[in-house]
């Protein structure tokens, strides 16, 4: 009897295997399936027939009661599982709360609440649509972005109207306006929502002509990424030619200086000084070794920046530079600019100078936004950032938490001047803007300077892991394995041996 059952299993196995290998349910597969099923059926029937007392009423009663109790448990289990599934109750314990929306997305959805709707256009069997659907469901759960799904092959008109290029495309509509998102991620949907929400537009003047960072340049050292991000966040950008700037226009909400390589002309410095005196807002990026000509003006407002390089050995070698020359900052002050940033959300400064703060007036508020680690020290060797060897540490070098980004408010009657100063401009370049949380830091600073509420932490737009996850150095991992990884099994075996020996006595 077991032989017949075994033959049945073998035949069924070959039927499935042949189908799996050839992709067709041919005669061989069919024959094996039939023979296998028959053999198993006969085997089961004969086994059942040999059961002692199978025909007795007592047997039937016990069998019925047992089968009923199993069926009841099964039915209750299925019903409870379906109920739990319908409740959609789940807890997100994942790193970075991957299945929860970022502050930025929630803020944008709230702005468009009740006005926006989303449609997912996808082919029936497009596997990519699954994650898009999950994402849209998560957004729909906020009750601000209802979404529907359309089969792309049935949507020729929508394809033309919205310019849909491929399956797995989301169209977000607000009245007559729409945005088409070809590769939906939280980041790309956030950008589309931002463009549609169009918050009150703020005018940002960006100086040029003194070797500042170029907002049009799209290579790694350019700043076109920052330009795009600012436009997405609702800023309007206007050039301010330093050589011709005798006055900062009245309509400026803020002025942005991206590390001038040459000193600004005296007229431009005077214009900026007058602008700050009348309650202007300035966001300035400095660079080690570069004289912007604005240092005396900043000093008047209580911000001085020694032209020395911050060396932070805690950061290790990053981006090909010598150890410590590119600090990975993870300590932030309590300030709206650092909202959402914490020790797990680092920012990267590839070559940075520090600041010293002294209040011009008691009512002024000057704060450090980003600190180096406590192991950092200052080096006058500014070229160290371009070498792979760390600079010599002077004997009298002092270790401290050095400010890398500072912000200040100067209330003067009815007006308030604001200045944000960064010790490095490269963190906003195309190469590093979207690394770690640099983008959040830079945009938060511009929002704060222009007196706008930042949407909070933004979803990552590019494929860079949100948190830098460095669990343990390799050596520590191996030490831990050799120390504890082998100790515990050894102790368990010893315990087993002792129990065994004791039981024999």
């Amino acid at each position: 009897m077991p032989g017949l059952a075994l033959c049945g299993f073998i035949a069924l196995g070959f039927a499935a295997g042949a189908y799996y290998a050839t992709g067709t349910f041919a005669t061989f597969s069919k024959l094996n399936a039939v023979v296998g099923a028959l053999a198993l059926g006969v085997s089961a029937a004969r086994a059942f027939g040999r059961v002692r007392g199978a025909g007795s009423p007592a047997f039937r009663g016990v069998l019925a009661r047992g089968a009923l109790s199993i069926a009841l448990v099964l039915g209750a289990g299925v019903a409870l599982e379906r109920l739990a599934d319908a409740s959609q109750l789940q807890w997100d314990w994942s790193f970075e709360r991957r299945f929860e929306l970022s502050d930025g997305s929630r803020s944008r959805l709230a702005e468009l609440c009740g006005r926006a709707s989303a449609t997912l256009y996808a082919d029936e069997y497009d596997p990519r649509a699954r994650s898009s659907r999950l994402l849209l469901r998560t957004m729909a759960a906020t009750d601000c972005l209802p979404f529907t799904e359309q089969n792309l092959s049935d949507s020729a008109e929508a394809e033309d109207r919205f310019g849909i290029g491929s399956s797995n495309t989301v169209v977000i509509e607000v009245g007559d306006r729409f945005e088409t998102v070809g590769r939906p991620t939280e980041g790309t949907l956030y950008e589309a929502l931002s463009r549609l929400s169009l918050p009150d537009s703020h005018l940002l003047y960006v100086t040029r002509g003194a070797g500042e960072g170029n907002l049009s340049r799209s290579d790694g050292s350019g700043f076109s990424g920052l330009r795009e991000a600012l436009l997405t966040e609702g800023f309007r950008l206007r050039d301010l030619v330093a050589a011709a700037a005798e006055e900062i226009p009245e309509d400026a909400d803020a002025v942005l200086l991206l590390a001038p390589e040459r000193p600004l002309p005296a007229t431009a410095v005077a214009a900026l000084s007058a602008y700050l005196d009348r309650g202007g807002r300035l966001v300035i990026f400095l660079e080690p070794g570069a004289d912007s000509g604005l240092e005396p003006l900043l000093s008047e407002w209580g911000i001085t920046s020694p032209d020395e390089l911050v060396i932070d050995p805690a950061s290790g070698p990053v981006a090909g530079a010598a150890i410590g020359t590119g600090p990975l900052a993870f300590q932030y002050g309590s300030h709206p600019i650092a909202a959402g940033l914490d020790s797990g959300r680092m920012t990267f400064f590839p070559g940075v100078r520090t600041f010293k703060l002294h209040k011009p007036r008691p009512e002024d508020r000057m704060e450090t936004i980003v600190y180096s680690s406590g192991r950092a020290w200052l080096s006058p060797d500014l070229d160290a950032v371009r070498r792979s060897r760390p600079p010599e540490r002077p004997a009298d070098a002092r270790e401290d938490y050095f400010p890398l980004v500072v912000a200040a408010r100067y209330p003067r009657g009815d007006i308030e001047t604001r200045i944000v100063a960064f010790g490095d401009v490269q963190l906003a370049s195309n190469q590093y803007l979207r690394a770690l949380y640099n983008l959040d830091l830079v945009l938060n600073a511009l929002h704060w300077a222009a007196d706008r509420i930042s949407p909070g932490t933004r979803p990552k737009v590019v494929a860079v892991s949100g948190r830098l996850q460095l669990p343990l150095p390799l050596q520590n991992t191996l030490t831990m394995f050799q120390g504890i990884g082998l100790l515990l099994p050894e102790l368990l075996l010893v315990a087993g041996a002792l129990f065994w020996a004791r039981s024999r006595v």
């Binding site: 189908y19 799996y20 992709g23 349910f25 007392g53 199978a54 007795s56 047997f59 016990v62 009661r65 047992g66 089968a67 109790s69 199993i70 099964l74 209750a76 289990g77 299925v78 599982e81 739990a84 109750l89 789940q90 807890w91 997100d92 314990w93 994942s94 790193f95 790694g220 070698p317 981006a319 090909g320 530079a321 020790s343 797990g344 990267f348 190469q431 590093y432 803007l433 979207r434 690394a435 590019v462 860079v464 892991s465 996850q469 460095l470 669990p471 343990l472 390799l474 991992t477 831990m480 394995f481 990884g485 082998l486 515990l488 368990l492 075996l493 087993g496 129990f499 065994w500 039981s503």
Partner: protein, 265 residues
């Protein structure tokens, strides 16, 4: 109640008094340590490789999205552990009922004041306790490494809950199989086979004659999909209920073996 307590005590003594329990614990702990540390080592190396000068540091897009603890460590460790446990757990459960049957002590047990339901409860509870201890011991390394790293304790808890539930489900299947035979080897192989079949039905989608509804049903009963969500860090109520229902069903089937034996011999 006294008889039930006595049975639980006896089961505990039998389980923890035998060297086989410690060998099984050691094997699980050792296998977890090897799998986990190897993946952590590879993850560390990959991360530092991407962060090194040769690869351009943290330049945008140089650290791919898939280089993270979840995808590089927890997912593969969970996958490997899930399959490894399918083979290991039946070794723990095979003797629980089958040994009693082979020695004939199950009939002695039936002469006590205990009902079949209480016997099943005692044996299941002790086995669950052992399996939980096994998982706790095997989680010492991931817990230490991750907590030392300062991140992901909640995700680790999710992974632990998933692995423990998966082990309890496999133990339940093994116990139900053990209840129907007096041969420990047959119990182990049957437990392994059922667990293996229930593990994943994704292969069946290659058969064109299998309909969407069948695939949906098979997906709903497969262990892999339920268990996988815990690795993602999602603790879903429906998945928790699934594992509890599976354990209850196995207990009902094991309970039925007593009635079956009474009339069928």
């Amino acid at each position: 109640m006294t008889a039930l307590r006595a049975l639980i005590r006896k089961e505990l003594l039998v389980l923890f008094g035998a060297p086989m329990a410690y060998v099984a614990l050691t094997l699980v702990v050792l296998v977890t340590a090897l799998i986990f540390f190897d993946h952590l080592r590879i993850y560390n190396q990959t991360l530092f490789l991407f962060a090194s000068s040769n690869m351009g540091g943290f330049e945008s897009d140089t650290v791919p999205d898939y280089i993270n603890l979840r995808d590089t460590v927890f997912f593969p460790v969970m996958e490997t552990m899930g399959i490894t446990l399918i083979g290991l757990i039946p070794l723990v459960t095979m003797r629980v009922f089958a040994e009693e049957r082979a020695r004939g002590t199950d009939e002695l047990l039936m002469t006590t004041a205990l009902t079949p339901g209480q016997i099943v409860f005692a044996k299941f509870a002790v086995t669950y306790l052992f399996v939980t201890i096994m998982m706790v011991a095997s989680f010492v390394y991931p817990a230490m490494a991750i907590i030392e790293g300062g991140i992901g304790a909640q995700h680790l808890a999710s992974v632990f809950v998933g692995l423990t539930l998966h082990s309890i489900a496999l133990a339940s299947i093994g116990l139900a199989c053990s209840a129907y035979t007096s041969n420990q080897l047959v119990a182990a192989v049957a437990g392994w086979a059922v667990g293996f079949v229930l593990w994943d039905f994704s292969w069946i989608t290659s058969f064109s004659f299998v309909g969407e509804r069948t695939i949906g049903f098979l997906d709903a009963i497969s262990l892999h999909l339920r268990y996988g969500s815990f690795a993602e860090g999602i603790v879903n109520l429906a998945h928790l209920v699934y594992f509890i229902a599976l354990a209850a069903l196995a207990a009902a089937i094991a309970r039925f073996s007593f009635d079956w034996r009474r009339v069928a011999g």
